[in-house]
């Protein structure tokens, strides 16, 4: 069955579902939408500015669509016209849709003005959109306690403004202007060849995921089918970097709590995982290993034996680390009931990944979508109940165990195939086309919207999960103590690389 699914004889049931929603959009919103497309597993709509509120209302209130979550709003320029990119998703119906709204303005300043005018209308329908409004008035009113960027380790993409009553936080405001960079300045050039090497900088703790996301998008555009061995190696690498990222997260938590032994043990374990990654890819942080239509090079059979040996050791030591950290009543007393986010709040903020799963929603792209060959492998999606800091740490531990399980399966049934050379980028010929692709990175759902012509990338919009985590932090900080700010922010696993967009 799995083999036939892979060869495309049977289409996945998830794809059938998206086709039905596409037909519904065609039926309900025929007059208001300019264009509806299905880009692999995501839906894409183009509409004009005047129809926006009507379309949003229909999408929210119609039970066929049932969209509650707004993930992000981005302003960008495509083909000379200014556009608004709105990312919406429905956890109940298990699909997501990208709206491209064409604006009327011609210059930078007028487009910003238009952006400000549109947002209040969106806020009336989706309340979470208020995070994208300009809120300088909050900065002046909430200034009892100010944490500038770089006060906390690894959280250097934003300033925090709090208004407090003694040591209880009343209101919180996060200012992310410091990390607002134009993509033209961030990436040297938009040539695909250069972009492939530099895209991994968006995620410093697991650099393989942005690369993977970009390659999946371009492969989908070129209609390339990669071999099973390549798919398995990609899964292996992404699970390894998920483990390394989660262990890095745990080391950060241990450092804040002051558990020295757990801190140094976890860093040592991360070293073991990174060493495996290094033997395969040749690099620890920015692998630059996954290429369009394949991988950089195949690895030798000795490395598989090496991975097998170290996997059992990693499992044993992660278990030891868990007992060392979470069997301590002082630590659990500190983590329990701090920064609790219930399911509705997490969904409304558009949070994805382990943070959402900790508060009780079963949403994992690896299971819910037709992502790579995850359907061949058996693993569980770890979910929590209360969504407090303790649950968020426990979820990471359980995900590490599941990742180890996946790697074990991948190594055992890795097919012995010849790997073709990756596609020569200079020979790519494409018409103007758009593509969306997403992967489940350790922080949440990492999504890329890309516009290409030949081998030139016209637009690259990164829709990372960390922005939503910051919005969630704004919501859950009130009611907690000022001393707990650092541990709550660390438990949300905010990656400041993704904020740069």
């Amino acid at each position: 069955m799995a083999k036939e699914l892979y060869n495309g004889i049977y289409s996945s049931h998830k794809l059938v579902f998206i086709e039905r929603i596409e037909k519904n959009i065609d039926y309900y919103l025929k007059n208001r939408v300019l264009e509806v497309k299905r880009l692999e597993q995501e839906l894409f709509c183009v509409l004009s500015k005047s129809n926006l509120t009507a379309v949003l209302k229909e999408l929210k209130e119609n039970p066929e669509f049932d969209i509650q979550v707004i993930n992000s709003i981005n302003l960008f320029k495509s083909n000379g016209t200014y556009c608004l990119l709105i990312d919406l998703s429905s956890v109940v119906n298990n699909y997501s849709i990208l709206l491209k709204v064409l604006l009327n303005s011609a210059t930078d300043e007028s487009s910003r003005q238009e952006y400000k005018e549109i947002l209040p209308a969106i806020v009336q329908i989706f309340k979470a959109a208020e995070f994208y409004m300009s809120r300088n008035n909050l900065k002046q009113s909430y200034n009892d306690v100010v944490f500038k960027n770089q006060v906390f380790d690894g959280l250097d993409g934003f300033d925090i403004f709090l208004s407090t009553d003694y040591d209880i936080i009343k209101k919180a405001y996060f200012d992310t202007t410091i990390s607002r960079v134009l993509p033209q300045n961030l990436n040297k050039s938009f040539n695909l060849f250069d972009l492939q090497t530099s895209v991994s900088r968006y995620d410093y703790s697991a650099g393989i995921f942005p690369e993977l996301c970009l390659c999946l998008a371009v492969e989908e555009l070129l209609k390339i089918k990669v071999s099973k061995r390549v798919q398995y190696i990609r899964i292996l690498l992404s699970e390894l970097s998920r483990i390394s990222s989660h262990i890095y997260f745990i080391s950060g938590i241990a450092k804040i709590i002051g558990a020295d032994m757990a801190h140094s043990f976890s860093l040592l374990e991360r070293e073991h995982v990174l060493r495996i990654l290094e033997t395969i890819t040749g690099s620890r942080i920015n692998p630059n290993f996954i290429k369009i239509g394949g991988i950089k090079k195949d690895f030798k059979p000795e490395t598989i034996i090496n991975i097998k040996d170290s996997l059992s050791r990693i499992l044993k030591s992660v278990y030891r680390l868990e007992t060392l950290l979470l069997d301590n009543s002082i630590i659990t007393a500190k983590l329990k009931n701090t920064g609790a986010a219930d399911k509705d709040m997490a969904l409304a903020c558009g949070v994805t990944g382990p943070n959402l799963r900790a508060s009780g929603a079963r949403y994992d792209i690896r299971k819910n979508r037709n992502l790579m060959l995850y359907k061949d492998l058996s693993f569980l999606v770890a979910i929590g109940k209360y969504g407090d800091c303790l649950e968020r740490v426990q979820i990471r531990f359980r995900e590490i165990y599941q990742s180890i399980k996946i790697i074990d399966q991948v190594i055992n049934d890795l097919p012995d195939e010849y790997i073709k050379k990756p596609v020569d980028i200079s020979e790519i010929e494409l018409e103007y086309s758009e593509m969306i692709s997403c992967v489940e990175c350790p922080h949440g759902v990492f999504k890329i919207f890309i516009e290409m012509k030949n081998n030139k990338v016209l637009n690259l919009v990164i829709l990372g999960p960390s922005k939503n985590s910051i919005y969630l932090a704004e919501k859950i900080l009130p009611g907690n103590r000022v001393e707990d700010v650092e541990i709550i922010l660390a438990s949300l696993d905010i990656n400041s690389g993704e904020l740069m967009s």
Binding site: G258, A259, D260, M261, S264, F265, L268, K334
Partner: protein, 311 residues
Amino acid sequence: MLIILKKVIYIFLIFGINLAVCSYMINKISARSELRRGFTASRAGGLGYPFLEISKYLAKSYRLNIWEIFLFFFSFFIWTAIPFSQTLILIKLDSDLVIAVLFYIVLVFFSLVNASRSSYGFIWNNFLKKVLMMYSIFIPILFSISSLVLINRTLNLREIVGFQYQYWNIIYQPLGFILMFTSAFAQFKLTGLVRKNTVLFSENSEKEGAGFGRLITRFSNYSTLFFLLVIIVILYLAGWQKLYFVNGNIMFVLKFYILFFIILLLDKATPRLDDYKYLISINWKFLVPISVVNFILTIVFFILRNIYNLI
């Protein structure tokens, strides 16, 4: 005069050697428990490292204020009323236990005042919380000392040691020993010899002085911990009483280092304890009630035995 000078030199020697050995133990054990090698700066297993550290502090430029100077002198004054053996004591008093406790309160007061110099309201508020923590830990200590005094019926530390020639006080007061030890451990976690001082380093500010000022604060931290351990050894573990054929002084040193080693291991096993809420809860929900119960039990025992002659 010469005899007093000789005693002063002895006490200084004991203090200095202890300082070197304990700082060596702290660094080495904390490094080993984190799977690190420890210091590699000097040869011979890093034995000279404490002296190197002191010279490093002295080499830097420093700025002193009046509280730090008070701290420096009081961390030495504290040892005037403490006996190290039957004869090795600077000032012989009838009730030196009271003097010792008072000295200790003054020392903690100076270290806190030194830490809490700030013109910012929020930081001042945080420091006040830490002052409260330090002083609320005092309540169980005072309760357990007073119940011990009821049993031994003296305020003289040498007489208390003499009282334990047959049975140690830990047999009469097991709860009191546990309370004293836990309180000493909490103080140790607060003053922080292994990590940075949590009283001086909070989440909002850092000030531990440089150069000589830093040396002084380190001295006072060590001094407070040594004092608490010595008091515990004297009160509960029979001080310099000899055990069978083992010399009393050796027993004193052995007990001191075993307690110190246990405290170090406990410190590595527990996370940083600067959480006001948690510390206050363990103090008021565990230490204080048990110390009160212990005190009441001792009073009942005392009345039954000494007034009604029933036991």
